[in-house]
Every structure is written in C-alpha cells, then in structure tokens.
C-alpha cells in the first residue's frame, strides 16, 4: 500500500519555505525539541503545531487539503452541529460528516475498513474503553493548549486526550420526591419505587459508573465497587429501586423520577420536566469523558490537526459547554476567565476534585458486577 502521505502534494510551497524554516528554528530553539529536528516535517507526522511551522502554517496546509472527514458526530450531541459549522466558517474547510449516529466501535471500524481511501475518518471522538483498545490506530499529537489538560485525562505522548464529559449525578424530579442532599436520602421512605439506573451495569457503561459513584459515596474506592452494589441491594430491600432502564420517556412519564446518569445527559431532561434537578455528591465526583484521537492514516492530516486545535481552543471548548458538556479545559479557562460563564451556569454545580476510573479499575468493577449484581437486586 502506498503511504497516504506520498500521494499528497507537499503543503510547503517554495515561496513560504524560507519564512517557515525560520519560524520552526525559532520555535525549536525556545520550545521542546521535536523528534525530527528537520524544518520540513510533514503534517502526517507532526506531533504539534510547531512541527509544521506554527499555527498559521498548519492552517494553510489544512486549507490546501481542502477537506476534513469526521464520523459519528450527531449535530445535537454536545453542540457538534455548531462546532462543525464554526470550523468551516472560520477556516473555509468543508467537513464531510459520516454516520452521525454511529458508535465508538463504528468509528474505529471505519478507520480500519476505509484505510487508504480519501473517505477514511481523519479524527475520532470515542469512548475511553474503545480509545484504550485501539491506540495503535492513532497518531500522536499535542494541541497547543496541551498543558491545560490534566495528566489523568490524556495519553502522555498525545495518542488520545479527553475532550468533554461530565460527572456521575443523581437527577430527580423535585415535584415528585424530596430534595436530595446525600445518597443516604435515597434509602428513605419518600423514594419508594423511584430510583433507577441508566441501564444494567453489567451491560451499560453509564450504569456501571452509577454503581461506582454509589460505592465512592459509601466508603468504597475506585478499586472497590462492592459498597455500591451493597447500596443498591439496600435500595432494593427498602423497595426504592426501580429495575427499569431510565430513558427520556420514563423520565417524562414519571416511571423513573430519580436517575443515576451523567450530569450532562441528566440536565437535558430539564426540557421535558421543568422541575428536574441534578445533584452531584461532593464526596463522590466520578468523571466520565470522551476522547479525541487523530487517525494515523488520516487522508487530511493537516486538517485533522487543525480541527483538534480548534476544538481545544477557547472557542471550541465554549461551544461544547453550550451543549451542556464539560470541556476538558474548563478548570483552566475558569482561571483565565475565558469561560462562557452564562453556559457554565447552566451546568449542575460541582465542588471537589473529580476522580476517573482507569482501565484496570473498570475491568475489576465489571468482574465484580458480573458475579454480584443479579443477586443484589434480584
């Protein structure tokens, strides 16, 4: 197979070469040295904007490629509709958005199946489980705002970096149940047949994290989900657990007035149920984020990198925020004052330091759930 990079005209025109070479040398002198050391690193192997000669060089290279392929980005999910049109408006690069309702697994499947074609996805927005299982398909790249991303939220060489997400929360209809200030409240008599998860934790990731959050709030740890299983067992004993998967429909018709779910998904129920409130217990702030990655064989490598720069710019991060998703640089932007405070105010309040499940911890939790969940709530 021909290397994708060889079939594309080099983005460095002769005219700008001298200027760019100067910029690169300047950047190389004051920044961390890049691995190639050459002034003409192609976009496909660039590990930062500096590698190709800075942001403006990256921008012109991307414009030359003239296109960007994205996949599995629903326009109404995390505000992607506005992000896609914002990118095209800013850089004049049209975006080909394939299979908007696809899953993370669909995305990596497309990377493999369409490899070498111009239709292959350039960039991916994937769940962590899929990201960790497919790092061999990604190109390492560090966006210029790299240092704002917590170490626990990125792969050190830049193969993937989390983009947006939220915290496990308890959403509830305040017109049907009393206000919730701690998980213990849920065991009370006011919650008979009220409390639901978003799925079966042995099947669905959101539900697994719901049980984990309950564990953290009840003296468990990321390595020990058993306290969460015990908690749901107690809920069940008290007659408070509803073994129904919470959906927009069950929230709307009142079958599940209390739901463990990601705060950004839960907050969206407010449109159907005006009295819907979202509570994140400060003793158990469990984060769940999606991640960005660039296809190693991206047909438009410069546009792919420019897209990441756009997403991780203040502008891109604020666009996610408007979609109720918490952008990964949120804390840094709150410090610098660049955050869209109006959009941030719509998110459920969270006080404390978030924790994240590692791949090993997730596996451990799954194994425990497989053998104990059915008994706990059966």
């Amino acid at each position: 197979m021909v290397d994708a990079r060889l079939r594309r005209p080099d983005f460095l025109t002769r005219r700008s070469l001298g200027l760019l070479a100067g910029t690169v040398m300047l950047l190389a002198a004051c920044g961390p040295t890049n691995n190639s050391g050459s002034s003409t690193t192609s976009a496909a192997s660039a590990q930062s904007a500096a590698d190709v000669g800075g942001m403006s060089a990256l921008e012109s290279a991307a414009k030359k490629e003239g296109k960007l392929n994205v996949i599995a980005l629903p326009p109404d999910w995390a505000n992607y509709g506005a992000i896609i049109s914002g990118f095209t408006a800013k850089y004049g690069i049209p975006i080909d958005s394939a299979n908007p309702n696809g899953s993370s697994q669909d995305e990596v499947n497309a990377v493999a199946q369409l490899a070498g074609t111009s239709r292959a996805p350039d960039v991916l927005d994937i769940g962590m489980a899929v990201a960790l299982a497919n790092t061999d398909k990604f190109a390492a790249y560090k966006v210029s705002t790299w240092n704002d991303i917590l170490d626990s939220q990125k792969e050190p060489t830049g193969l993937w970096y989390q983009d947006y997400g939220g915290y496990m929360s308890i959403g509830y209809d305040s017109s049907k149940v009393p206000a919730i200030t701690s998980l213990q409240d849920l065991l009370g008599s006011g919650f008979k047949g009220r409390v639901a998860l978003n799925g079966d934790p042995t099947k669905a990731n959101a539900a697994l994290n719901g049980v984990m959050m309950a564990s953290l709030a009840n003296g468990g740890s990321l390595d020990d989900i058993s306290k969460g299983v015990d908690f749901f067992h107690q809920l069940k004993q008290n007659g408070n657990f509803v073994p129904v998967q919470a959906t927009t429909a069950t929230v709307k018709n009142g079958t599940t007035p209390v739901v463990f779910d990601w705060d950004y998904l839960s907050a969206a129920h407010g449109t159907d149920v005006p009295s819907w409130k979202v509570f994140v217990p400060s003793s158990a702030i469990l984060g769940g984020y999606y991640a960005q990655a660039i296809n190693k064989k991206a047909p438009h490598p410069a546009a792919a990198r420019l897209w990441e720069e756009y997403l991780y710019s203040d502008e891109g991060q604020n666009l996610w925020l408007k979609g109720l998703a918490r952008p990964v640089r949120m804390a840094a932007m709150q410090k610098s004052g660049k955050i869209d405070s109006g959009a941030a105010a719509k998110l459920p309040p969270v006080n404390g330091t978030p924790v994240f499940l590692s791949a090993d911890q997730a596996t451990k939790a799954k194994d425990y759930l497989a053998s104990h969940w059915a008994q706990a709530i059966g």
Partner: protein
Amino acid sequence: MDWLGTIPFFGYVALFLLLPTLIVVIGAFFGPDGLTLSNLAGLNKSFIVSAFFNSLLLSAVSALIGAVGGAILAYAVATGNRNGAFRRLVLSACGVLAQFGGVTLAFAFIAAIGPVGFVYVWLQQHGVDFYAGGIWLYQLKGLMLVYAYFQIPLMVLVFLPALDGIRPQWREATESLGGRTWHYWRYVAGPLLAPAFIGALLLLFANAFSAYATAAALINQGSIIASLQIANDLTSEVGLHQPGIASAEALVMVVLVAVVMVVYTVLQRRTARWLR
C-alpha cells in the same frame, strides 16, 4: 420418489432447528483455541445457576397457574353449548391471547399496573397500594403474572380437544352402576384426562422456559432468568461480552427443553391410546 414431498419440511427443520442447535453446540465446545470445556465450566457461577433456577421456578409456577386456570375455563367451554356464542368467543379470544406476548404484552401490563399505570394510579388514589413493598411487577412474581396471560389461553386451546373427547355416556354409565361424582372423576375422567393434562402442563412449561421478549421488555436489571442472562452475555458493552458462555447456557436450555419434550411425547402417546 415419494420422499420428494418431504423436502420442504426437512429443509425447514434443518434450517431452523438443526442448524441453530449445531451452532449452539459448536459455540459451547469450541473456544478461540479449539476444543474446550471452559465454557461449560464457566457456568458454575452462582448468578448463572440462580438464573436457571429462576427460569425453572418461573416456568413451573406459570405452567401450573396456566394449566389449572386454563383447564377450568376449558371445562366450562366443553360442558357448554357446542355451537354457542360463549364457546366461539372464548376460543377466538384464546387463539389471539395465546400469541399475545413480547413487547406488546409487557407494555399492556406497564400501562395498566406499572408504577404509573392507570389502574395502579386509580387504586392508589382510592387508598390501595399494591406496590407498598416494592414494585414486584419487575420481579419474578411479576413475570409469573404476566406469563399467565398467554399460558391460560394456550392451555384452553391444547386441553379442550381432550375434554371434548369425553362422552356424556361415560358419566351416565358410571351413575347407572351406582357411582357418584367422586367415583366418576377418580376412576373415569381423571385417569382419562391426566395424561393430556400433564402433557399440556409440560408444553406450558417449555413455552415459559423459552420465552424471552416479554421478560426483556419488562425487566431491565439483573438478568434474573436464563434467557436474559444469555442476552447479557451476547450484548454487554462494558466488556462482559462472552459468546462462548452464552452458547453453553443456550445448550443447557436446549437440553432441559429436550428432556421436557421427550416426557411430553411419551405422555402424548398415552393420551392418544386412551382416545383412539
């Protein structure tokens, strides 16, 4: 060339019975490294064993409810007017309801007596709360109730021919020989109907044992019965995806149903001998 006409039948059986069974057997005994018993060994977990136990319990109880309820209804139909409106009404209703399962049935129950169902809400407003101790509709008890909804009509359909086969003359003969109602049921109708009744009971058992859609639509948590456990092993997105275990579980179900069907066939033969 007489056998030519049987090709569609055997083709159908091969495609929809033998082939799936073969796939299940292969899936159960072959892992990524060839022949293995690890899938069967993997069944030795308390939650899988309890799923099978629940399945057996659910099938037995719902078959008993269906058989007793259905037999009484069938008896009412059999002793009534052969051409009457009652018989026609009950039979066509049973024909429809015996097939009324799956998502539609689950929805009917959720809409009627679910925690926001109109019957439940109305009763609650009038001081009756049958979910005071928890929402049992989404538990094994709930499934027993819901399953009865298709088990009773099915029992009527399969048991009525046996009841119709009983002649009024036999009762008259009993009475003319000095027998009472008790003697008639104990020595004439009872032995005559028992094989048909037990055969129908086993059919209902297998029917409930293999049901999946109704339970899946009603219960989203915990995979409490075997068919739900199989689905969980096949579709889990959190990495508990174990198609080998699912095949082994399916194999156990096939074996259990096969045992039930063999017993059913033996009893069926006996019934036929009585009525010949």
